[in-house]
Subunit: 343 residues, 2 copies
Amino acid sequence: MKTFFSEDHRLHFPQAELSGGEFVTPYERPSRIEYVLARLKERKFGEIVAPGPIDMGPVRTLLDPGFLAFLETAYDEWKAAGQGGEVIAAGMPTRRQRHDRIPRNIDGKVEYYCHASETAITGGTWRAAQSSMASAQAAQREVANGARAAFALCRPPGHHATSDQYGGYCFLNNAAVVAQMFRDQGAGRVAILDVDFHHGNGTQDIFYRRGDVLFASIHGDPLDAYPYFAGFADEMGEGEGEGANINVPFGPGTAYGPWAEALDGVVRRITNWGAEALVVSLGVDAYKDDPISFFKLDSPDFLDCGRRIGRMGLPTVFCMEGGYAIEQVGLNTVNVLEGFEDA
Amino acid sequence: MKTFFSEDHRLHFPQAELSGGEFVTPYERPSRIEYVLARLKERKFGEIVAPGPIDMGPVRTLLDPGFLAFLETAYDEWKAAGQGGEVIAAGMPTRRQRHDRIPRNIDGKVEYYCHASETAITGGTWRAAQSSMASAQAAQREVANGARAAFALCRPPGHHATSDQYGGYCFLNNAAVVAQMFRDQGAGRVAILDVDFHHGNGTQDIFYRRGDVLFASIHGDPLDAYPYFAGFADEMGEGEGEGANINVPFGPGTAYGPWAEALDGVVRRITNWGAEALVVSLGVDAYKDDPISFFKLDSPDFLDCGRRIGRMGLPTVFCMEGGYAIEQVGLNTVNVLEGFEDA
Ligand SMILES: [Zn+2]
Ligand SMILES: [Zn+2]
């Protein structure tokens, strides 16, 4: 399969991530992607293609216009207000607070449009997020035009971004827009399978009340892991979306056995549900040595995981999400893709 | 009037406040209090007395037991988990997230019990917060025993703390507990007047559905100022509390003229409502040179403000809240108290 990738991801590299009460170099950093590119080339996996420009149409349809305008101007407004550092939210509207008024002040706007303070916005973030989305859209078009599958090597990732909040290293939800594009082009039902260690709270949120896009995620129990306040098994969708949201949380130390069993269960449900296209939120931070995660998948497990996904036989777009054991991110990511092609 | 004050406030002095995407020395720092003490002594204002121990009874009645247990153990749990810095929340449950599950993980617990990330918890924070509350309680007992008024020189402040969230430099809501103590001792109706520049969102939240404690606040418009997501004029209480919550927000540059007019309006409403005791959340960050605020009150205005409060003729407990133009905090604070006594 082809890989779609833009060098513009380098425009997003914050100096600081708030972690453990300190600023650290962000776990989500450009070098992650180098290892994926190197492994793709080493394995002669397929052509690596730069995407065309972003198509803002489906992005504007799915996401909040105020949020998009904010992302575009936040860094400049922040600097114009005399702030010394990168854009970092010092709070956010929480329980029993107002969620219906958007502050005029840039500090307040940042808080309104953010759901996790570890994630900084820099001068290049908006362009990088757009280029990441452009890769996802190019991969979608590749599959829409008849390819069995395509890989969007997205950075920054997307699955934590909701329609109106960034956080968790994510700004624009690539997988959600890809699913929407399949729908707009006529697919009756589209499934999103999120195998990243972290719950894809942004994607879930975007489709929670919709019956045409199913979201399924296997992830660290939110009682123990970010994003903490979403991803419980009893979140099954609402209204028309009831039954079209599947969460399988696991606790610390979970190995591939139970994980693969959960995957098979999810795959069956997606198949029975009648998905006509599949979007995979491909994070590889379920890996045993990931520095911010607690599952115990080993590199060969990712090959097997790819095979199980491939056996579904669906037109599939892979969107890169997390994975922070940097030197193994390439191996583990390409293993999923190779397993998929082997299926 | 007497001042109640504990040296233990020094136990709380975080190294870091998240501000403008950087760590800065906290605006809310121990030296603020030195200037108040110095001014009290210079003016021979009255006896300065150390409080006895905290009475946890009314604190436990009013505030969430899980929150209190968290504050007591958070720093040790954080350090036991290997975190490098002081306790700083990297997020919090926001819109469309779960607010009904408390994480097991200490990172997640911090996010659950916090509503603003500028505020760090240190090893001495819990003891300092308790000593601050002890001063407030001692001042309340002084007034309950017949004094016209008493001043609790509280640090850390309290008015941003809700029953289950810290933030805005506040951990335990001193003013709220003082109001509750008046109620428990037989006062039918108690009013809390918050003259701090920032909306007292914690106090409002604690009494929002209660008709026996009125909360009134004059503050920076939340569209422009922290806490951003509370303090709008249309927040008037709910249920039994309907009509017992008064917010008067003003925009940048507001001077004493309109501010004093708002104060008179609030004073009339408190009087007509039939308050039998008054708690004043005494912040002096409405001062023209305050570094994090935008009102234009001058030092003599605080004298006048105190007079207007004093003319209400109510038994009154003053609880120290904010004020960050450090060298003027003493002058402005004692001006309010002197104006009160002059009334
Ligand atoms: Zn992840
Ligand atoms: Zn204040």
